[in-house]
Assembly symmetry: C2
Homo-oligomer: 240 residues x 2
């Protein structure tokens, strides 16, 4: 299986999708066309989203098609050479992907046929077993919280250590501690901005300038670094 799961499209103050461009180019080397899923867009059009993504992928020599322009989105996934799922609102993305039958189609192509899957933010959430570690507002109710389950652990994208001063709401770490209290058998990986996870077969690598924070029920949170062995994240959890 081949995955590139990116925390965020864009670092603050940088151009859209700029920082992960080199890794995207390396990941999709030899592939001249990918199928894009723009459904996480809420406050801008799918056409506008496609245009932004195509602009960056053009620099990599890759043509971007989008499922929203296909008569049958699930069928378009079935013939894709590569799959790209963009960020935005995870609940909207899940609801639309479920409605259009994309979750099953993507799972089949990626797990059985080795078609490469790249996602960022909500697109990384959709690669997890569930959408339960998204940061997004639940603006619409999906049919289920189950996502594509391409990996056996949860990613929290945009993982954040800071907390607005004087604010009484939960920190990100507290939110994830709530998650593992209710979901005791699964790892959560706090993927900081500017970072990504790349899976090639059974080898999982952290790429980026920051460590990743690992949470699991009954264990103290800990940091892992690029180069560390992340094989423990790929073990199927026991039923919990």
């Amino acid at each position: 299986m081949r995955l590139l799961l990116i925390s965020n499209s864009t670092n603050a103050g940088e151009a859209y999708l700029d920082y992960p461009k080199k890794e995207l180019g390396d990941f999709f080397k030899g592939i001249d066309e990918v199928m894009f899923v723009p459904y996480a867009a809420v406050t801008f059009t799918y056409d506008a989203y496609l245009e932004k993504v195509q602009a960056r992928f053009s620099e990599l020599g890759i043509r971007v098609r989008s499922v929203h322009r296909e008569a049958n989105p699930a069928l378009a996934i079935m013939s894709a050479k590569g799959i790209v799922v963009g960020g935005g609102n995870t609940f909207r993305l899940a609801q639309m992907m479920q409605r259009e039958g994309l979750v099953e189609a993507i799972r089949l192509r990626v797990t059985d046929e080795g078609i490469p899957y790249a996602g960022w933010s909500a697109g990384s959430n959709m690669a997890c077993p569930t959408i339960g570690t998204t940061n997004d507002m639940p603006i619409i109710e999906p049919a289920t919280f189950h996502a594509a389950g391409l990996i056996p652990f949860q990613i929290n994208p945009h993982y954040l250590d800071a907390h607005p001063q004087g604010h009484a709401g939960e920190t990100r770490e507290q939110r994830i501690e709530e998650y593992i209290t209710v979901n005791t058998n699964v790892y959560v990986a706090g993927l900081r901005e500017g970072c990504m996870l790349r899976l090639e077969g059974d080898r999982l690598s952290l790429i980026g300038p920051r460590p990743m924070r690992i949470f699991r029920w009954g264990e103290l949170p800990r940091e892992v670094n690029p180069g560390d062995d992340l094989g423990f994240l790929l073990q199927q959890p026991l039923e919990g």
Copy 2:
């Protein structure tokens, strides 16, 4: 109908449930016992939650019972003199309240019989039509996003203007703009920390030191202040 919907239990640096104590005392005047719903607690026990809330309500001369100690929680709601729903994780709260049949019981008692309902944070979310404007992580999947619907508009508790510097994730305002883009017929009230909404019959009042930010599809966000007429929030939305 009588509601007291509080943004947050506790202001940063203050004692638990301290700032709304005076309003809670005024709201429950003449009532010597309330039924507490502790199900939003995740990382601490219901007993511990009850103890914390009882400590504060004792200062008001009010005994707090909790549904988690009742053989039949829904039946306990049916005989309650007042209802208090505490904060924590909104998804967990919704899932448990739905499972125990509390949503319907509370709607009946509060809307038909005028039993006073006070909630903070997740407890305020549950008074809305849906849980769609919570800030919480979706750590567990409730049966439905529909909440008690005691009011016809959505509250975003802990409403926050600040945004961590250098972070690329969505601001709160952007999240609510996503919500109203998908839910075009409903008002969202951004209720800042330290503030609450009190409904007495058909009179809705904002109480607290900060204005409240109002969002609706097709309108510019605007601020309302304590003393302003908030009747527009109580109009039933057209089907959208």
